[in-house]
Symmetry: C2
Subunit: 312 residues, 2 copies
């Protein structure tokens, strides 16, 4: 198995990406080899500094990157030789089994839509985050930012997508799906959550346990937490703010340490025809390492293929 | 000045309420006297246990309460002699200057709407919460739950209401108003936040500083954080969940201790024709004490009157 990494994306490119790849390679062993999309000379020099031979990784040469501030669609179209565009070409042709980047996440989404495309039947692809649960494991929350406006049937599909992710990647059998809302009763909430509840309540496609509230976000009441991307993004960033505070206040606690985004590496883009992982722009080498490992997990689980089968 | 307290509301009624009133009375001194709405005999017995004379408080006799599970409107109409209904009658007639309760918050809202009514010009009354800011002080977030669905002009008014609250009750001059969103740029977000941003950006009625994100919730970037009640309620409960975790994990930290809801006592209902405070159902005596003090602060600041003037 081969997984591709965008070496030019993210705030600490290329260094953090190459170092992350070196660390991932050691941990992955024979499970997968990593293909780097970036500048050969720079990569060789970083490898050299780390006493590794030039042929440690297969490299697809490019020194064109899509910057953080660029308009995703325009940049993707105008830069067919950028690391992101080349990565998606290789993913589409099957030369790599997964592609990950900590760069411009909009461009990653555009790349996915334009090349490998949305799985037929999936209304809207989405991204997720994993929240540490107090008694161990994680809850998956989706969408966390690319669908600021959703219809009830989109939320319903998030229940299916999130269940597959929780089961296949996080090893949670028959995951409990909760709808994030402002009350437990089905008539609570706004028009969207009320309608989504009605669609979900008799679902045979996932294990719906009803509404959950903000206070349930860390207690594992649901394994999959469904919401539109507006609320999900604010919930995610509030949790990140908490982790920042914990660090700033110098609180040492095993559980709160698990809020460190580095551990999770990134989020798969669910609902597209291939295994695509988006990492945090501020990723350091450790986060990149875990993003690459997540891309291997996702490819091994054949997550995109499983989603395709369910939506057939 | 006289402030009213519902003795029959909340999970620990009547004990926590009477004990809270006793503690508040000591701290308030001559600033205000407290009028209790509840059962005289029970109140006398609690006073007696605390070596206080029967005439410590003025009491309005009732032993009829609106329970937590009751339908707010139906219960309020059917129980004109309930502590909540009597409290609002006294507030409307001017016999008390503020009324507070930790009971059925829906019934408190219905009571406010039916008796003292919404201030003309205010589209939707709202409730708020105070978040501790790392460098001291608080940010005010609104709405936190009674308006799950809002139009842009309602969010705009929350900017005005929140500014008055921050200024008058929390002593923040020219408060910075931020719109809670999923990106800093004005085109980010859902249709509601995009439209609200357009209304707010040239406002001369409050000091709009633009969008803020979930990661800014604890950093004091904005003194007033505006959102609809769906997002606000989830944000509030997520913060409560954090505090629960901090307690559970036995983390000792001065800043996180300030997430204790007891400190804030409750939320004024903004936009109604009188000073009404709603407390948390789980309030203990300390929380009730602070709720009563907040009701005095609100009445002294003539908050409802100021809002009325602004919306004239």
């Amino acid at each position: 198995m081969k997984v591709g990494l965008d070496v030019l994306g993210g705030d600490f490119a290329p260094e953090a990406n190459v170092l992350g790849a070196i660390a991932a390679r050691e941990e992955l062993g024979d499970r997968a080899s990593i293909v780097l999309f970036g500048d050969t000379e720079t990569i060789h020099s970083i490898l050299n500094e780390n006493n590794l031979p030039s042929d440690t990784f297969e490299i697809v040469q490019t020194n064109e990157s899509i910057e953080m501030g660029e308009h995703p669609t325009k940049a993707f179209v105008k830069k067919p030789n950028s690391s992101v565009a080349l990565g998606f070409q290789h993913l589409k042709s099957g030369e790599i089994d997964a592609f990950s980047s900590t760069g411009n996440s909009g461009a990653m989404l555009v790349g996915a839509m334009y090349t490998i495309r949305t799985i037929p039947g999936v209304i809207r692809p989405c991204i997720t985050t994993a929240f540490p649960v107090l008694n161990g494991g994680v809850s998956v929350i989706l969408d966390v930012g690319i669908n600021a406006e959703c219809k009830p049937d989109v939320l319903y599909q998030f229940g299916i997508l999130g269940s597959l992710l929780a089961e296949q990647i996080y090893g949670i059998p028959n995951p409990k799906v909760g709808l994030l809302n402002i009350g437990e009763e089905e008539e609570k909430g706004n028009m969207l959550s009320q309608s989504a509840h009605q669609l979900m309540k008799d679902s045979k496609e996932f294990n719906f346990i009803g509404n959950i509230e903000g206070r349930d976000l860390y207690n594992g009441k649901a394994d999959v937490i469904v919401c539109e991307g507006f609320t999900g993004n604010i919930v995610l960033k509030q949790a990140e703010a908490l982790y920042t505070l914990i660090r700033k206040r110098n609180v040492k606690d095993e559980y709160f340490e698990r809020f460190n985004y580095e551990i999770y590496g990134g989020t798969p883009v669910l609902g597209v025809n291939g295994n695509v992982i988006i990492g945090h722009g501020i990723s350091n080498a450790n986060a990149v390492k875990n993003m690459i490992k997540l891309s291997v997990d996702t490819a091994e689980a054949k997550l995109a293929e499983r989603i395709r089968k369910v939506f057939k």
